[in-house]
């Protein structure tokens, strides 16, 4: 086909092809749902019916999309890429909530969708007050949603579906992967996706094994490993990791949260012996640097303000909490509620900027913090010396001015989304502190509620309309704003 006729075709969005690909993805999701069904059956819980039925429905819809929709053309461009990526997350949550609607601990549609979206976006908000009451199947499914969403649904499908291994898949990769630039580590997009998933699977398996060696049961280890490496923060106990009260558990989870917050391509390069890549990476250095300096601040504050009741109070717990907030996991250390306002205040910038791009963590990413800092330094320098020619250099390479512009635009949009979200939720009838804190927590995918900080009362005070807004915010935050906001631009739909 020649380029001219391709351009004529591109004027309309290739909906049939989109639906067909979504059909494929639903088949995958339905397949995943069978796992909790089997687990439930093994624990002889009645929930296996809920999972079995949801899985059958998902598989059925996926199959019929695939079977009965025959697109005239298979090409997918930029617009299809954005739309598909955003849609997939919504569709996955819509089908992922099915088990919650019919399982033993039943939820209504609002809460089920909210829970599913909190899972897939690895935010980790939860409707369930006590996960102890949930069946094994439900707990596993919550963990699995986070795990699938952690590295990205699209990235997973790129790795397994060869039909997306062309430029349409490229657009989806760009729409989903986080960060300023999207580094590929191998020539084809499917290979890149496979390598990243290999790293992810390896980390999860290692985390499970190490947790299992400690006091945790295998089931809890698997669920916590999935919540940790994906930096989601769902847990199987009401108290979270504190239930085990074991320093070992905290240390293992801290280590894997740290890895989950690191750039996965760097972990991949380290795994093939190219350690210098990680050593020379500015973001990685900043990541470690911020953790270390925050650690010092926390030790000083805790020693002066809170008091020390044991060596963990100034070592394991603050470290666990700092890494947990930075990587947007949102687990809580047992002594956190004692720390008070200074800690809550310090957590805001930590969660806002999050960890490294290309990781499973949320937030605006340290990469952008570095660009912002260098850009601001240049601006101030220029105020003094207007003729000074300045550039923003990252890893020894000069960033194109458009890239810097895009970063600054991103940060402004990010703040705007948080603010708008907070106002909306307040207007919909929730207390203001809760509204703003949960909007912030949703966009950054942190998933800590205000009650954990001792300044509000958490999800229970958010109205059901507010919960839909939160679900939208979580998605916007996970897809790094542009992918979602671009759909609301009229130019996207008609040209």
């Amino acid at each position: 086909m020649s380029s001219a006729s391709r351009i004529i075709e591109r004027r309309t969005i290739n909906m049939p092809m989109l639906v067909k690909v979504i059909g494929w993805l639903l088949l995958i999701e339905g397949g995943f749902m069978l796992i909790p069904a089997v687990v439930s059956l093994a624990y002889s819980e009645p929930d296996w019916i809920a999972f079995g039925a949801s899985s059958l429905l998902t598989l059925g819809v996926g199959y019929s999309f695939n079977r009965f929709i025959r697109p005239e053309r298979t090409s997918m461009g930029k617009r299809e890429g954005f739309l598909l990526t955003a849609l997939v997350w919504v569709v996955f949550s819509a089908f992922g909530m099915l088990p919650f609607l019919v399982c033993s601990s039943r939820l209504d549609v609002t809460d089920a969708f909210f829970e599913a979206m909190a899972g897939f976006t690895t935010t980790g908000f939860t409707i369930f007050p006590d996960p102890d009451d949930l069946s094994h199947g439900v707990n596993l499914w919550r963990g699995m949603m986070q795990w699938i969403g952690g590295l990205g649904i699209i990235l997973f499908t790129l790795a397994v579906l060869p039909m997306l291994d062309h430029s349409g898949g490229m657009q989806m990769f760009n729409a989903e992967v986080t960060g300023i630039t999207h580094d590929k580590i191998r020539p084809r997009i499917s290979q890149t996706a496979k390598s990243l998933w290999m790293v992810y699977v390896a980390l999860t398996v290692a985390c499970t094994a190490m947790l299992w060696m400690g006091p945790m049961s295998l089931f809890d280890s698997i669920c916590h490993a999935m919540g940790t490496v994906s930096t989601g923060g769902f847990t199987t106990k009401a108290d979270g990791p504190a239930y085990w009260g074991s320093t070992y558990v905290y240390l293992v989870i801290t280590a894997f949260m740290f890895l989950g917050g690191a750039n996965f391509s760097l972990i991949f390069f380290c795994s093939i012996g190219r350690f210098f890549k990680a050593r020379e990476n500015v973001t990685m250095r900043a990541y470690v640097g911020i953790i270390v300096s925050m650690m010092l601040v926390f030790i000083i504050f805790i020693a002066l303000r809170t008091g020390v009741n044991g060596w963990e109070d100034i070592s394991v717990y603050p470290l666990f909490q700092i890494v947990g907030v930075m990587t947007s996991t949102g687990y809580c250390a047992p002594t956190m509620h004692l720390w008070g306002a200074w800690a809550s205040a310090l957590f805001v910038p930590l969660a806002f900027f999050g960890a490294c791009a290309g990781s499973t963590s949320g937030g605006a990413k340290i990469d952008r913090l570095i660009v912002l800092a260098k850009y601001l330094r240049n601006t101030i320098k220029k105020a003094l010396q207007p003729n000074n020619v300045t550039t923003v250099k990252i890893d020894g390479k000069v960033l194109a001015p458009e890239t810097v512009d895009k970063t600054i635009a991103f940060l402004s949009l990010y703040c705007a989304v948080i603010g708008t979200g907070g106002i909306l939720i307040s207007c919909l009838g929730s207390p203001m502190v809760d509204a703003f804190y949960s909007a912030f927590s949703a966009v950054t995918n942190l998933g800590m509620t205000a009650d954990a900080m001792g300044i509000g009362s958490g999800i229970s005070d958010i109205t059901s309309c507010g919960r839909w807004v939160l679900a939208a915010l979580m998605l916007t935050g996970r897809l790094e704003v542009f992918t979602v906001l671009i759909l609301f631009n009229p130019n996207f739909w008609h040209r």
Partner: protein
């Protein structure tokens, strides 16, 4: 296959795009960040920033583990250096683009090999070959000979007066058993026709036939063969010099160029050219001064594709029997073909023909390949045990975007029908649409 392309210029970008659509692993190196960013955002490939002939960039691109290393920077010296480094690092096969016949001369080829350059692409040379063929066969658009002409693939545009116009393909095949219509180019589209497709006026048909029946094609398509003697070339480019060098004895060439310096250079470099004029070949006064009515063919080789197309149209109006235009913008090729420009030359397509040949058959030079704007013709040697030999052609369930046109067995050419059984050792001519060449490779290897 892992392919590293050094240089993201016109040819490099085109190859990267094409090969990435063929599901190959592509790494492209260039020092220009902007160019790489455009490629990176559009195509499924990896980009490496750095000078393509530097050790650092080649290491970053992991040239050591490449199956094919293609150096297509503007400077041939850089290309050869890059190939030499890549080869030393461990690249399996290296290709350098050159712009000088010196490296290709049989006496020097071993020296070039020992430098680490396995194959050479010389687009200007290939273009000159195509132009000379076009001058010898004025009635065809494309002329592709396989194994000394045992099988030929001929691209010809049919007018309204052609007998086959409006005929269904199966009727045509029934009446003319010695011709296989392998592909039809209609407007913007190239299609691999099936039995119930019609042939329409202004289609370009790609017909496969054997040596003995080529001449019958003239009457079937309603074409007349002209004898060319005097040729006017617009633009004293490298291709022009090669054309004159290649066929200066058979034709009388007149070169017209606007630039005085170029004309002086031509006078020294092109002893075989009949006459050289300094001026604008689109200027009517200039043309009548030259005596345009005595010329048979017009070749437009200036830097601008648009100028070339328009100049050819003017030449057609004056009454030239054959026009050839160099059209470097791929988008414009379809337009040019619809405007009835005799033959269109494109260096990028010629270069990719050569690369596809290496892709299909990296170890030997037995296979030939021809890249059209959105389809490829390849000659493949059948290896024992390959999938293609397992059943009769009609039972192979071949994909719809490729067709088997003809084959050569024991040095004798024949056409392929549904009842043909492909044997190991045959040379088969395959047509496939762009993006399907990897399917061909799987069938034959």
């Amino acid at each position: 296959m892992r392919i590293v392309i050094a240089g993201a210029g016109e040819v490099g970008s085109h190859l990267a795009k094409l090969l990435s659509n063929e599901e190959q692993d592509i790494v492209i190196i260039d020092s220009d960040h902007g160019r790489l960013q455009i490629l990176d955002s559009k195509y499924n490939l990896l980009t490496v920033a750095g000078h393509p002939a530097s050790f650092r960039a080649l290491r970053d691109a992991d040239a050591a583990h490449s199956d094919l290393f293609i150096a297509v920077m503007p400077s041939e010296a850089n290309n050869i250096v890059a190939c030499a480094i890549a080869k030393q690092m461990g690249a399996k096969c290296t290709v350098a683009r050159i712009e000088n016949y010196d490296y290709m001369a049989p006496a020097n080829i071993d020296n070039v090999r020992s430098l680490g350059v396995d194959h050479l692409i010389y687009p200007e040379y290939l273009a000159a070959q195509q132009i000379v063929t076009a001058l010898r066969r004025t009635w065809v658009r494309q002329w592709f000979e396989i194994l000394n002409g045992e099988i030929m693939v001929i691209g010809v545009r049919i007018g309204e007066q052609a007998k086959m116009c409006g005929m269904q393909l199966k009727d045509f095949a029934f009446r003319h058993r010695h011709f296989h219509v392998s592909a039809i180019k209609r407007g913007h589209e190239t299609l691999i026709p099936r039995g119930d497709d019609h042939m329409e006026a202004n289609d370009i048909l790609y017909i496969t036939t054997t040596r003995d029946h080529v001449d019958d094609l003239l009457s079937i398509t309603g074409k007349i063969e002209h004898h060319i003697r005097r040729v006017l070339i617009m633009g004293g480019s490298k291709i022009a010099i090669r054309v004159v060098d290649m066929a200066g004895g058979d034709f009388k060439f007149t070169i017209v160029d606007k630039n005085r310096g170029v004309c002086d250079m031509l006078a020294q470099k092109c002893p075989d050219a009949d006459e050289i004029y300094c001026g604008d070949a689109r200027d009517m006064d200039m043309l009548s001064d030259i005596g345009i009515e005595h010329y048979d063919a017009f070749i437009a080789l200036s830097d601008s594709s648009e100028t070339n197309i328009l100049a050819c149209l003017t030449a057609k109006e004056i009454g030239m029997k054959k026009t050839v235009a160099e059209v470097e913008d791929i988008q414009l090729i379809n337009q040019a073909e619809r405007l009835n420009i005799g033959t269109v030359v494109n260096k990028k397509l010629l270069a990719s023909s050569r690369i596809f040949q290496l892709l299909l058959d990296s170890d030997s030079s037995t296979s030939k390949c021809l890249a059209l704007t959105d389809a490829e013709v390849a000659e493949m040697e059948v290896k024992p045990g390959s999938r293609i030999t397992r059943a009769l052609v009609k039972d192979l369930n071949l994909s719809h975007d490729l067709t088997l046109a003809g084959l050569i067995r024991d040095g004798k050419g024949m056409l392929v029908t549904g009842m043909t059984q492909i044997m190991p050792g045959d040379h088969v001519v395959v047509f496939c649409l762009s993006g399907a060449i990897h399917k061909v490779e799987k069938l034959f290897n």
